[in-house]
Amino acid sequence: MIYREAGDFKASYRADGQTFPLRLDRTAYWALLAVAFLVVPFVITDYWATSVLVPFLIYAIAALGLNILVGYTGQVSLGTGGFMAVGAYATYKLTTMFPDVSILIHVVLAGGVTALVGMLFGLPSLRIKGFYLAVSTLAAQFFLIWLFNKVPWFYNYSASGQITMPERTVFGVLVTGPSTSAPAKYLVCLGFAVILAWLARNLTRGTSGRKWMAIRDMDIAAEIIGVNPLTAKLTSFAVSSFMIGIAGALFFAVYLGAAEASESFGINKSFLILFMVIIGGLGSVFGSFAGAAFMVLLPVLLKNVLVGGMGWPTDLAAHIELMIVGALIVFFLIVEPHGLAQLWRLTKEKLRLWPFPH
């Protein structure tokens, strides 16, 4: 009954075009941000950081990036794992070459490097579409992983072939390396996630977003109204890869600490993130977060219920967990093929009319 647009008048186009047109939505959004920044860091434990919040935020960034490409521009990509690896290895090379420069700058630069690589592998999209494009991005996935394993320069000739993140600080606080505190890890990832989500939202609601969606919905008509498909597709690949690169950089530097290309950034990662995007909702910023939350939280939740709550043996729980997650994915896709974001949208629409829907 409180959730209404009645009385919430818009007097300018600017006010009408904002992300959250309803006052209650805006309040909830700012409240959520306040809790995330001001409350959570003080109560977060190591367990919550390493197995729930940090992976959730990093996967959300990756899903956001992939969503721009798949959800907004309609170009299917299976190269996400490879692009995350580019971000990770770029960070590693940059921070070992220039240890004095802030790690935050290196992470952003790694995103830039990934954007360039993404544009390069996006070139085939000008000629091929759909499943065939997916196959050509698969080539990116395998080529990049092979490259990082094959050329010792990328892992600084270390004997194990792994890359290991040295300790780096931001404003005197340790943010990478094994002895990093949980709040520091969490805040770095949260900061990146919030800023990138804001950028993604701005891009998708404005000129670029319209170009991308026009290409997605009908590429011939898009070209006839004046969209250059070359620049539209390549900017989409660039922005998408930029975000995925940052996700890869954080995944390696903050979350894992040490990584090996084929193990941490294999084809499984690409599929996992694609599933997040599909389950969360194609073409939705909120959906990227919802999908990441679903895929990260569900296994953790099931494990806690099965092992902690019902006392099952760990190995049995692990197998059952896989089955349940699989079944739930199928269930959700049947109930709402447009993803969790659409479910959320419908709920809100219903709520506007509640309790008098007629």
Partner: protein, 274 residues
């Protein structure tokens, strides 16, 4: 020389001013493999006029429109636009010349709202760069508001205010046609191409659409080239008519001239082709 051939232009019976030549098509021939869709056709479109292209099914009308909009490149012949010969161009470059069009089978962006669809019509005028758009400051924000204002005028003009935020995929056919016209108008075109704007409409919808087409021409002075099957509509709306049959031009002139042209009557009523 009749009044209509005056190169400087003339005033129509209802007081509209028709200017000089806007687009000149010279000896256009278009082939698809062994099929000749358009055979050596020449005609011009003058500034401010409503020019209709008619003909039986398969006459090559849509191909002709696709040549004008730059979607097909003819094997022979020249396209002159605003006094300059148009070289081979990609369709998005033609759009920047100020040529907008609608399609026979609606080509809207189904996943976007009506408002966003119409805003795409103004994409060629957007100048802000990616960075400005990403932080939603400066040019990006100003542009969004300025173009929204123009788009709202078109929304008012075409009387589609109540469906502004509806996803296009949910709209009925007649409204989709209207939104598509809005998107083309949003580009503020010099030349507007309409491919069967009234196909599949009932009488009332046809009357609405005719009124919009006349209003567009009258208020914005937009030059319009259209393909239409409804003869009543064509004869009422257009200043001059080109008649095509089997890829050839068989008639060209005012609606009255065309109506009395023996070749046109034969093409429509049917005689044995030799």
């Amino acid at each position: 020389m009749t009044i209509m051939e005056n190169p400087a232009g003339y005033i129509t019976a209802d007081g509209r001013k028709i200017g000089g030549t806007l687009m000149d098509l010279r000896n256009i021939t278009l082939r698809f493999g062994g099929v000749t869709a358009i055979k050596d056709i020449s005609f011009d479109i003058r500034e401010g006029e409503i020019r209709a292209i008619i003909g039986p099914n398969g006459a090559g009308k849509s191909s002709m429109l696709n040549v004008i909009s730059g979607f097909y490149v003819p094997q022979e012949g020249e396209v002159w636009f605003r006094g300059q010969r148009r070289g081979q161009m990609r369709p998005y470059q033609v759009a920047r010349l100020g040529i907008a069009r609608t399609f026979q089978n609606i080509a809207l962006f189904d996943g976007m709202s009506v408002l966003d669809n119409i805003m795409t019509g103004r994409l060629t005028m957007m100048k802000s760069n990616l960075l400005q758009q990403a932080v939603w400051r400066g040019a990006a924000e100003r542009e969004e508001t300025a173009h929204r204002e123009k788009v709202e005028k078109i929304i008012d003009f075409l009387e589609i205010q109540n469906i502004r935020k509806t996803p296009v995929g949910r709209l009925p056919y007649g409204l989709k046609k209207r939104v598509e016209l809005a998107r083309a108008l949003a580009a503020e075109p010099n030349l507007l191409l309409l491919d069967e704007p009234m196909a599949g409409m009932n009488v009332e919808e046809k009357e609405d659409m005719s009124r919009f087409i006349l209003d567009v021409n009258d208020e914005f002075g937009t030059t319009i080239a259209l393909i239409e099957h409804d003869m009543g509509v064509v004869m009422d709306l257009s200043d001059r008519v080109v008649v095509m049959d089997y890829g050839r031009k068989i008639g060209d002139g005012t609606p009255d001239e065309v109506r009395n042209n023996q070749a046109v009557i034969d093409a429509y009523l049917g005689v044995a082709h030799d």
